[in-house]
Symmetry: C2
Subunit: 370 residues, 2 copies
């Protein structure tokens, strides 16, 4: 049985429009990078929007080239016969604005200056990302979505869709999200930011593309990485094993967990732009469902569709109580809400590491909205 969407291509669409952002600033023209899988039906009623996390991109499933070592980042979820079944649904994944993976972000050319935006790029909120995705839906001629689904920053986008464009979504599925980013999470992003600011190569965002602040970004990524893991997953994966090539009493000797963080951190700057990382971190920190509302209650009162929420026991970045806060508000408002706390050891990353623990709960939910 073929369960892959096969070869796919990232597409790009540019909107010659100016988007009014939450900050009051305008951004435009706007390019969005996106991929689609499956066929849009005649009624144009079978579309699902998949939203990516912080450093994700539009490439959620399939391969760009036959010899790609890895498929898209959620290939296990998306394909013929899979949880998000491309035999039945038309699946869209769009890179968010602010990112560096094809959509307009701080690496893009500012048409007013003909130079890259860098720090002249406006500070974004997740709400702005969703506003831009609306343009894509219009472009594709899609009125309503079967569901909007995503983990982490993707969950935030799903919630914003449900609240602000309730006429266009028939359900939302926020996974490992939060109703508002906690001070602990902000603190972790804060030290990650500082790691970049401390790098002399950063030059207040004016680094040369060929000389990015690699050390700072690698360290920032390592800090983030810790927050995505858990005490238990680190015990399982590394324990207290010491690197075989170092002496225990070498000043620069490393435990395995250190080597892993350093290795992954140093790979990251090859794939991601530093300013984009900072802008998206800021959007995460600013995330508050109740922003520009009186309260969470008021914000969620605008959600009309059923919602399916997942949290993970070992997630200490967006701990279960934060999802439960949102779910409780929705219940108190009499909304159709379904919530599952998934027992998993892999921290915030659980939604990527152990999909088999919760995805069976998604299929039925989606089919009911189709």
């Amino acid at each position: 049985m073929n369960t892959s969407v096969g070869l796919v291509t990232t597409e790009y669409v540019t909107f010659d429009t100016e988007l009014r952002l939450e900050s009051g600033r305008v951004l435009g023209p706007i390019t969005l990078a996106y991929e689609t899988y499956g066929q849009l039906n005649a009624e144009r009623s079978n579309a699902i929007l998949v939203c990516h996390a912080w450093t994700g991109d539009a490439h959620a499933a399939g391969r760009h080239h036959p010899d790609d070592r890895k498929p898209g980042w959620w290939d296990g979820m998306i394909g013929p016969g899979k949880v998000i079944d491309t035999d039945r649904y038309f699946v869209i994944c769009s890179n968010t604005i602010g990112s560096c993976k094809g959509s307009t972000g701080p690496t893009s050319i500012n048409p007013r200056t003909e130079k890259p935006y860098r720090l002249s790029f406006p500070v974004l909120m997740v709400r702005d990302m969703v506003r831009a995705q609306q343009l894509l839906l219009d472009h594709l001629g899609i009125d309503t979505l079967v569901t909007v689904i995503g983990g982490s920053m993707g969950a935030m986008q799903a919630v914003e869709w449900g609240i602000h464009y309730s006429e266009r979504v028939r359900s939302i599925i926020p996974i490992a999200g939060t109703a508002r980013t906690s001070p602990m999470s902000i603190a972790l992003n804060s030290v990650a930011r500082q790691a970049i600011f401390n790098d002399p190569l950063w030059k207040k965002g004016n680094y040369r593309t060929e000389h990015p602040p690699t050390d700072g970004l690698a360290l920032a990524r390592a800090i983030g990485h810790i927050a995505f893991l858990s005490d238990t997953s680190m015990h399982l994966k590394f324990g207290r094993r010491y690197s075989a090539r170092d002496g225990l009493f070498d000043f620069f000797g490393q435990f395995e967990v250190e080597r892993y963080l350093e290795y992954n951190g140093h790979n990251f700057p090859q794939h991601f732009d530093t300013n984009s990382f900072l802008y998206l971190a800021k959007a995460l920190d600013l995330y508050d469902t109740a922003w520009n509302f009186e309260s969470l209650q008021e914000a969620f009162s605008y959600l009309q569709c059923p919602s399916l929420w997942f949290a993970f026991t070992s997630d200490w970045l967006y701990p279960p109580y934060q999802t439960e806060e949102a779910v409780e508000v929705l219940r108190s408002l009499g909304k159709h809400v379904e919530y599952h706390l998934i027992d998993s050891d892999y921290g915030h990353d659980s939604f990527l590491v152990e999909p088999e623990k919760f995805t069976h709960l998604i299929s039925h939910f989606i089919d009911r909205q189709a």
Copy 2:
């Protein structure tokens, strides 16, 4: 009622001896900075050793000058009529080797080269710190201690005392400790280290005293600081409040929690040496009660005295289960062990922030050993 030990002075003693360290290297001569409070009785049997944490010092109680704004770091615990009652006990607090607060450490002059050790200083284990403290006990003419008490790295020292010098201690009181540092804790120290290594002023430890790697050390401290707090304490203290002087959409705008971490981080390098910070972090990471034993069981089999352990519900740096691991082993060995899990919101710092929640449990325990 006067409950202060009053004016005190840090004393220094130098031992013209070479200490064989766990690494196999030797260190000497060795200077120890220490303070004492109260009077040693005629039998020399009423001494208590107080052990400090990572960045602590010998100044645990009283004031050095009448106009000192703050007393010693555990002044709430130590004094006439207090939990550690200087009317009854002779209290000793010694700065550990490896530190920069008067005891021999990387800032000390290496007598072989007549230059500061810097990175030629040997990597230490907590066991080495305790070994050096023994010299001080000999110097003071004290055979046995009523108890050894400390939090965090101080707890580790208490445990090492109990296991390795069981003939000299009548009890130990480890607070907010661990039987062995977890990979999560190592990971956090690892990114703190990297923050320093990334600072161009660090120069592989050869920074000029007047130009220390302030940015790197400040960031390292901020990372540590996050680990000492808790999700709940950050909610209580900062919530999502945004700095009043910044705009929400300023790229460099800060939440209150960020400003706090930055402020505290930048104060720190005025008081602490970078290389010392790194050597002590390394000692924390290497800490394993079972080091050079077959198992935790074997290690704890050498503990002969009663022990009193405290852990704090919101401590995610050395979570309660880690103290409980040690306590379970001691119970399985039939040792006299008392354990209290204290409900506190202040994370690892709880032992300093809310002493009133547990110190009443200490007085009785100490008096029984006196």
